[in-house]
């Protein structure tokens, strides 16, 4: 995937996929809290938190029928988890219709095989890159057209936040040559 003389495989690990969906009906949170399994009722915030075991996702359910699911490690898993959650609600007796599934946020982690000189990188990438060593040891780098942002550490680890998995991969490809220019050792 990287344009280089020897194509080195760079593993991009997706750590979190956040998605939202609707069940198209009002839900009685009290009923879910009493009868449902593996749920936590947060009455002050008006939501129920349901944790599924497989796939390991946490779903936050509101009484309007909107649900946010986090913790999945891939987009497909996120969809399976969402459907499982909707199925649990259906079994509790609600007229559930699965709809408007959308992946909102993806967090991925990538590790470069070399260390990076952060001050050099920041100087070349102003104003997209912002580095405040007093506040955080990583450089915050934003890629505007992809709406992706990443945190680049001096050890070579990069944490990417993007709107979907494809964009996260593109972001890594985009930043690889820039980071290569500021690697330690050259």
């Amino acid at each position: 995937m990287e344009a280089g003389s020897e194509p080195l495989p760079l593993d991009i690990l997706i750590t979190n996929v956040v998605c939202v969906f609707r069940v198209r009906c009002h839900l009685d949170l009290r009923h879910i809290a009493l009868k449902g399994a593996n749920v936590m009722y947060k009455r002050d915030e008006g939501k129920v938190v349901m944790k599924l075991r497989r796939p390991r996702v946490t779903a936050t359910i509101w009484s309007s029928g909107k649900i946010i699911s986090t913790g999945a490690t891939s987009e497909d898993e996120a969809k399976i988890g969402a459907r499982k959650c909707a199925r649990c609600l259906q079994k509790l007796g609600f007229q559930v219709r699965f709809g408007a599934f959308r992946v909102v946020n993806v967090l991925a982690v990538c590790s470069m095989p070399f260390e990076i000189r952060l001050p050099d990188f920041t100087k070349q990438q102003r104003p997209l890159a912002s580095y405040e060593p007093e506040l955080h040891p990583a450089v915050n780098f934003k890629i505007k057209p992809l709406t992706a942002s990443m945190q680049i550490f001096s050890t070579g680890s990069i944490t990417i936040t993007a709107s979907n998995v494809a964009r996260a991969a593109q972001a890594v490809e985009h930043v690889y040559p820039l980071v290569l220019a500021s690697r330690k050792g050259t």
Partner: protein, 329 residues
């Protein structure tokens, strides 16, 4: 008198002859290039070559009287009042009744008879409060006037943009102070700004990033050398130790011995190493107090520096404790 008549002729000559003179508006007709001399007592401009009085009744725009710093302020006979503050809403030119000076302006209870103070807009009031706060903060760490002025300007820009309207004004003021110090080339650490402000470091950091985005500016990265003189003089270390510490820190960053460490921690560790090698030894705790760094952090950075200690010192440094006897933590 003869001179007076010549004045009239010169004046007429100046008006009738449309000769373009690039710089001055009046000039001697026979010596157009002569620089006129001003006679302040009569208000005349006189040509030094021929003595012709070229300009008459010149108004002197200098001050009417001299004011000295040890004079009592209330006796200032200025008729124009204070200078306009250009930072406030573009200069309000309305008339204000000032505080009374004589005994007649106070009624029987001691209250002033005329009580109206022009009501400022709430925007102005908020800005003035912020300026006062900035002044107080800057005063606590003895910042010069140019930094305070820059801070005030930044605050005004940010306030007018209204992007950060929800944030506390004090937080914005502290962040502006931090940015101003950075821009002037004498950065202060966030912890130093925290020490003079009531806002937490986290909030100042957040406001700092928001302001940079709002004003679309960026600031230079901090380097270890920016803080050396301040930390060393606060610790009372001699100049040789300061130079050594600066050298150590710069070499450490060049050799990239301390990747990912904040420049302040590196500076603190360098000061520790330099002071331990000289006659004026300082403990980690003392340095940590001055720099705002935890002493474990100094220890961590010091370990990275200790590894290559011999290369980091400047070549002409006088060792009180040789390199191999430096404390190993």
């Amino acid at each position: 008198m003869i001179i007076r008549k010549r004045v009239k002729m010169a004046a007429m000559a100046a008006v009738s002859s449309p000769r373009p003179h690039p710089v001055t508006k009046i000039y001697c007709p026979s010596h157009p290039d002569a620089v006129l001399v001003e006679d302040y007592r009569a208000g005349d401009m006189i040509c030094p070559e021929c003595g012709l009085v070229v300009g008459d009744r010149m108004i002197d725009v200098g001050s009417e009287w001299r004011t000295f710093s040890n004079d009592h302020v209330g006796k200032d006979p200025s008729r124009v009042g204070d200078a306009q503050n250009p930072l406030l809403n573009g200069g309000d030119l309305s008339t204000v009744i000032g505080k009374g000076t004589g005994a007649a302006s106070f009624d029987e209870f001691g209250n002033s008879k005329y009580q109206n103070r022009r009501a400022m807009t709430s925007q102005d009031r908020a800005m003035l409060t912020a300026f006062r706060e900035i002044n107080t903060m800057a005063d606590r760490i003895n910042l010069p006037r140019n930094i305070v002025d820059r801070t005030n300007n930044l605050f005004k820009q940010v306030y007018e943009q209204r992007c950060l309207k929800g944030r506390s004004n004090d937080a914005i003021a502290s962040a502006c102070l931090y940015i101003a110090c950075r821009q002037e080339g004498v950065p202060r650490t966030f912890k130093e700004i925290c020490a003079v402000s009531r806002i937490s470091k986290k909030e100042i950091g957040r406001c700092f990033k928001l302001i940079l985005k709002a004003l679309e500016t960026s600031v230079d990265l901090i380097t270890t050398g920016d803080f050396m003189s301040r930390f060393c003089s606060n610790l009372g270390l001699p100049k040789a130790v300061q130079i050594a510490a600066t050298h150590i820190a710069r070499r450490a960053v060049d050799l990239d011995l301390v990747p990912g460490r904040s420049p302040i921690s590196v500076a603190a560790a360098a000061i520790y190493m330099a002071s331990q090698a000289s006659a004026d030894k300082r403990t980690q705790k003392e340095i940590g107090d001055i720099a705002g760094v935890a002493d474990v952090t100094i220890r961590q950075s010091y370990r990275l520096l200790y590894f290559k200690a011999a290369e980091l010192f400047p070549p002409d440094f006088k060792f009180d404790t040789p390199v191999d006897k430096l404390p190993q933590l």
